[in-house]
Symmetry: C2
Subunit: 636 residues, 2 copies
């Protein structure tokens, strides 16, 4: 039970936080004071509950904290500073400045203590579900002495309006993720006005329908906040704490107003508000008593971490933990392929080979596992195994997978049809921003999809992912290239997509990792080539047949396979020029405008696909040897 003294301390701590945030936004002359000030009281009590070691921010058994509303970053940075992370008062003063530790929205790997990059709304809620799932899996593998922690997530109206939060919370309820505590900052303010202009549902009933524990509190009442957190930690379900708050609480004239959401309060307003709450008119002012109290997080965390390290020494699972921290990719025994098969099939075998070698390799599909060939055999289902059934929830899958990747000991993959990668795109972007090591299995990669038709045939997707920074898209031409792609991809430490065929593809010779790591290599050479054909995936075979025809007609033609355009783009001119000779033609069943970087001519898709047999479509859209060789003969 909180006594009056503590309540007084808390009040001072809360107000200190709110003015720190208001000062940061004012100093930056840009940013969001409203949410941090509304959440400050919750943040104070959370500081008494959360388990972190600010001196070793990557401690695997720390609690995870997600600010789903990344625009409340001023509050997160203030807390990191006060808790003892490597964020100084000067860093707070440099909020939103170039190359500061304190960018506008929290960025993973950029600022120690930030567990995941947030900002685009809704994803943080799914990230939190992902952390909670990671924790459950880790606990299953390593035992509860090594893994036993909670996941806290702060979110707002916007997060809960986004469909991804519905998807993720549905899965969290289904799996009874009792380690998950979602604190909903319910301030009724959105940018266009009161939430009631577009939202009137019963949130409590919604979460009850999803099998959550729901607690509603006054988000400025320390006793209620504390009590809710205590109850949440002992619940056997995920808990939603609906915290009724006032945006910009503490601001004399702007509290409760949407004007406080995304703009500085103004010097006068801050001064007036400080005085009203008994503060001096000083910027970035932190009383010693407040600093000491917040520093408790660090002291308690240190003790807990030490105790954990002690207990780990004699834990038989220690070596398992170590091996999950440092996965040995050389221990993977890749399959030997001997026959033609779809790359989605070869990839399924490769996933299973990787899974056998790496206990932290986990993943699943958005209800397409039999089509994506992503089942890890004999591995069981979550939480007792590493197969994840995401349901038909691509976007949540992407954001959950991001959290699995950031958790520290997992290497996750997620899967769907390539055309539906559109549904998880916003989370792929965050993975790319974070350079998270995770993998996307995207099968049914082109018009080769066939009869399902235009709605199911990716056309523009390849171009999109090639234009996404830090992202590597692999499109292997056969089962053997598929292996080499994985050998390279596992070592890239950045998100990688595998774009795989539904249809059978002929087996080509084995390929060395050395060839693959440049993204492109000469698949079949010819003497003093007059023509170079570039292609990826299934079109490599069309290129090879076209080259044969051209060579027979005396037009010396080389074929370059480009399983990873992104890697080719990183090579120096010497290597790039060594690949190309004569008239360069790219052949790919995609929109393909980016090929003009390397090619004189692109034979690609100028429009959407159609519904018919896949082979019929390849001919219909011009990917026949006859059409290709005719075009080339007319061009050279």
């Amino acid at each position: 039970m909180l006594d009056n003294n503590k309540i007084q301390d808390y009040k001072l701590m809360g107000d200190t936080l709110r003015f720190l945030c208001a000062d940061m936004v004012q100093e930056a002359n840009s940013g969001h004071p409203g949410a941090p000030m509304g959440l400050a009281d919750i943040a104070v009590v959370l500081s008494e509950h959360i388990k972190l070691n600010p001196k070793q921010p990557e401690w695997i058994n720390r609690d995870r904290l997600v600010f789903s509303g990344g625009h409340a970053s001023a509050l997160l940075y203030s807390l990191l500073h006060l808790w003892g992370f490597d964020v100084s008062l000067d860093d707070l003063k440099n909020f939103r400045k170039l190359n500061s530790k304190t960018p506008g929205h929290p960025e993973y790997k950029h600022t120690k203590g930030v567990d995941i990059t947030t900002g685009p709304l809704g994803q943080g809620v799914a990230n939190a579900v992902g952390f909670a799932m990671a924790s459950k899996m880790a606990q299953n593998i390593l035992g509860s002495e090594i893994i036993s922690h909670n996941v806290y997530c702060l979110c707002g109206d916007g997060d809960l309006q986004e469909g991804i939060s519905y998807e993720a919370c549905s899965l969290a309820g289904h799996h009874c993720l009792d380690n998950l505590i979602l604190i909903y900052d319910s301030n009724h303010i959105t940018i266009e006005g009161d939430t009631s202009i577009a939202w009137s549902e019963d949130i409590k009933m919604r979460f009850c329908a999803q099998a959550w524990n729901v607690i509603e509190i006054d988000g400025h009442n320390f006793y209620e906040i504390d009590n809710a957190l205590i109850k949440a930690k002992s619940s056997n379900k995920p808990t939603l704490i609906i915290a009724n708050t006032t945006i910009a609480k503490g601001s004399v004239n702007l509290s409760g107003s949407h004007k406080a959401h995304g703009a500085p309060l103004g010097d006068d307003e801050i001064r007036e508000s400080k005085i009203a709450l008994g503060f001096e008119d000083k910027k970035f002012d932190i009383k010693d008593s407040v600093a000491i109290r917040f520093a408790n997080v660090s002291e308690i965390g240190l003790v807990e971490h030490k105790r954990w390290e002690e207990s780990l020494k004699n834990n038989p699972k220690k070596s398992m933990l170590d091996s999950m921290f440092n996965p040995d990719f050389s221990s993977i025994i890749y399959p030997k392929f001997t026959k033609d098969m779809a790359t989605r099939v070869s990839n399924g075998e490769i996933l299973n080979a990787i899974s056998k070698a790496l206990p932290g390799f986990v993943g699943g599909s958005a209800d397409l596992a039999p089509s994506n060939n992503t089942e890890l055999k004999n591995s069981g289902d979550f939480p007792n195994g590493v197969n994840l059934h995401y349901g038909i929830r691509e976007h949540a899958m992407g954001a959950i997978s991001n959290a699995l990747a950031n958790y520290g000991i997992f290497i996750p993959f997620s899967a769907t049809f390539f055309v539906f990668s559109d549904y998880l795109l916003p989370s792929v972007r965050i993975a790319s921003l974070m350079k998270s090591r995770e993998f996307y299995i995207w099968t049914h990669d082109s018009i080769g999809v066939g009869e399902d038709g235009a709605t199911h045939q990716p056309i523009e997707q390849i171009s999109h992912y090639r234009s996404m920074p830090n992202f590597y898209l692999f499109r292997p031409a056969d089962a053997n290239e598929n292996i080499a792609c994985w050998q390279v991809a596992l070592n890239l430490n950045s998100p990688c997509g595998f774009v795989l065929s539904r249809q059978n593809l002929p087996l080509l010779d084995e390929v060395s990792t050395e060839s693959l790591k440049y993204g492109a290599y000469i698949k079949q050479d010819s003497k003093e080539p007059k023509v170079t054909l570039l292609a990826s995936g299934s079109e490599v075979h069309i290129a090879l047949r076209s080259a044969e025809s051209l060579n027979n007609e005396g037009i010396s033609t080389r074929v370059v396979s480009v399983p990873c355009y992104d890697l080719l783009l990183e090579q120096d001119l010497t290597y790039i020029n060594s690949l190309f000779s004569g008239y360069v033609v790219a052949i790919e069943a995609s929109r393909g405008l980016e090929w003009y970087k390397f090619a004189h001519k692109v034979i690609g898709m100028n429009g959407f696909g159609a519904s018919a047999n896949g082979e019929v479509l390849f001919d219909y859209f011009g990917f026949s040897v006859e059409n290709i060789t005719n075009i080339i003969k007319q061009s050279i």
Copy 2:
């Protein structure tokens, strides 16, 4: 009340439908028999309720029908055939064949009677909400004599698991869309197994939380189906009918099995099933009595349509309806711009000018209207006005907007920050597939966003939309170009995106529509140019300043503004070559790989953005006159 004779008729009709669908899939040797067979009984009763005129499929006051599970297309095509639409028995036999009227998933504009393209799950539910909203707005403008109809949507587990359905149904409940009837085919089967592997929420409670009317029935009990539809039509809320069904009902050995979802049943299974239900072993068999009964839809629809046309003659709103069918773009009085401003600001004025001239011009933002400048002034809010508050639900916004566009008398726009166009991407793709006339207002278009940082700065998005077929992306350089872009875009009859600056841009000279319609034009020429600079949006100004500097140094430089790359791509070589002279350099604060189609050199973004003042960022990432001119001098 249904009598026994009618029930017997219904049973025969239902079984006829199921075997027709099974035969179609078998003949195609590909497709989805399970859902059509499970939904057949509902489709029979729906045929007695739905108001359509198959001979004039575009009748504005028809009921709308959305097959959200587009994979159940065999059922839709069978119904269209039986109801009397222009879909023949031969068309059914050509299911999933090249250029048939019956592609794998329903395609709007391709098959008469298909109200919207579906397949990617969840979107159909939001489309239905969009049709219901369109109907409410139309009723408000035209009166209930002209507009008074229902919207039916069939959906499955997958649709309801997708977050977009949550978003859309939340909005539908908020607005009490009593004209909306959502029939949920609850068969508990997903591709990975029983729905319970990933989904266990209480659907009834979920929809009650969203203020829906919920009715649960046996989806094979004609009486219950009929009763539910009667109740739904008289409800004052949107209605969810939870119809418990058996997948592939009627199949002797495969009913209830996930094996019946996405593969033909097999000739033997179909034969055995037909015999078990008292049918002859004949393919595509439709008894006359069944055909006559289904043809009632046509007969009743014709009568209703005639009556409606009669009543329209003396309706004072008839001319308004006509003008909404044929919007007169020449009546738009565009603003006269006289000062520098952000293009998001000029665009806001243009939207208001269009709105004044066109009563069917409707739209809104996903809670960013004040930032996107999308408020239509003095126009009121939905349903009494044309301003839509979508809430923080981008994906639902996109799919709702698609339905508004297809409704027939509206020209919709939707808005968010450009980087969050990722969230609605799957619906933009469907708009592009359908070539729907609708507009996307995407502000905060580049690193110009500034302090919000990398999560909020689009980099790869421009490349993506340029690679999307049928889609036109406009990025005006100033307020005047902004007008010309709209003049061209309104006449394209395809979806168009407007990518607009947050920051102020200098006002340039007025531009003719003639210049704009080729996508690119010479903004500033020079004598015998040695260098041509291509740019779009804010970078046009950097190009102009760079050209000035180069010209001063004796390097004759031309500047070409490219507000719409997609249109430029459609021009013939003569026009394209007339634009370029000498060394061609593209300057754009985006990834920009597609510029190599036209340029020798691209000065773009090689990675993600950062958090700092926008002007600082332009310099930091190399978009300074000094850096650009240096690069060019080194290159030529």
